[in-house]
Point group: C2
Chain length 204, copies 2
Amino acid sequence: MDAFSSSEEKIFKAAIDLFCENGFDGTKMQAIADKAGISKASLHYYFRSKDRLFKKVVQNLLSMLITNVTGEIKEDTCIEELLQKLISGYFDMFRKFRKQTFFVFAELVKHQKLLADIIQGIDKIAVIQEILLRLQKEREKGTIIAIAPEDLIINIIAMCIYPLMAEPMIKLIMSMSDNEFEQLLNRRKQVVTDFTLRAILVRS
Amino acid sequence: MDAFSSSEEKIFKAAIDLFCENGFDGTKMQAIADKAGISKASLHYYFRSKDRLFKKVVQNLLSMLITNVTGEIKEDTCIEELLQKLISGYFDMFRKFRKQTFFVFAELVKHQKLLADIIQGIDKIAVIQEILLRLQKEREKGTIIAIAPEDLIINIIAMCIYPLMAEPMIKLIMSMSDNEFEQLLNRRKQVVTDFTLRAILVRS
DNA sequence: GTCTATATGGCGATAGAC
DNA sequence: GTCTATCGCCATATAGAC
C-alpha cells in the first residue's frame, strides 16, 4: 500500500476495519465511505465493486499475517530458545491483530472458492517451511521426541490463538471475570512454552 | 425442541443450517423458508423477526455444545484415561459439529451485547467445574505438574479445535493436500493425548 | 396456520455535472 | 477525482384472503 495518505489508502484502511468488525455481508459500502470521509461514488471509482475491494482486503491481511511470523530465528539458536521465540512471536502477533486474524480465518472458511484467487501474490510461506525443516533436524538429532513437525507447529499455534479467538466462550464456560481472563492471557506465553518444552524435549 | 416434525421445527432446523453456513447477514429469510418448504409469511408467524429467530438458534447451539461435553467421567478413572476420554470426546464433538462450533464462536464475538440475553436458559456448565476440580485434586496428589486447571483445559480444547477451524489456513501455509490433511485429523486424538500426557504427568 | 400480494426501506452500482 | 442524484434490485416485514 502507498505510504502517503491518499483517498485510496483512506478507503482501504476503513474497509479493513469494517470488514474485520462486521464481515462481508455486515459491511455496507456507505459505511466505508463515511469512515473514509469520502462519497460512495469515489469508492467505486477506486475499487470497481464491493467484491474486488473485499478480495484485496483479505489478500492484504493474509499476506500480512503470514509474513509477520518471520521473527529473527538464526541457525545457531538452541531448540529451547527457538520455541520460546516462536511462541512469543506468534502470540504477540495474534494478540495485536486479533480481529484481523479471526476475520481471515472466518472468510477463508466461508469463501473457499475465492481462495485460489487470493493466494496469488502471496509467496512468502518459505518461513514456515524453514521452521518445519529445523524441527525435523532436531528430531533426527534426538533432542526432541518423535513428533511430526506439522503436528507440533499446529499444537503451538493452536494454544496461542485459541484463547484469543474464544474469549467470550471461555469466560462463559469457566465463569471467569474480565480480570481473571486478562491474567490468563498475560501468563499465556510462559504457560505454552513450558507445556510445549515438557512435552517434546527428550530427557535423560 | 419438539420431537415431532412440525413446521416450527422444520423452520428451526433450516435456520440452523443456513445461519451456520452463511452467518446472520448472509442468510435470507426467503432461503430459510425455501429450505423449510413453507412460505416466508409462515416464518414470521412462528418467529416474529429475523433477530428473534437468530437469537434462538445461537442459544440452542451454544446450549448443545456445552452440554455435549459431558461424557461418562467417573470418580475412579485414572488421570490418563480421564484425559484420553476428555480429548476424544471434545474432538469428536467438534468434528461432528464443526460448522456449528465455528458459527457460535464467531457470533459470540460479533454480538457480544446479546450474550447476556443468550446465556439465560443455559445452566449446565457444572460439568466443566467438575473437571476443573478433579484436575485440581490430581495436582494436589502430585500425579500432575503444577499447572492451573484452566490453562490445561484451554490447551486441550485449543489443540482439538484449532485444526478443524483453520483447515484452509493450515493447508495453505503448510502446502498440504486434502489427503495429507485428512490423515492429520485422523491421528489428531492420539497426538494431542500423547502431547498432553507427556507435558503434565509427573515422572519419577 | 398457511398462503399471495404488497408496503417500505436499504443496498450496490452508475450517470453525469463540475 | 469527487460529488449529487438516481436506477434497479432485493430484503424484511405486514395485510388480508382462505
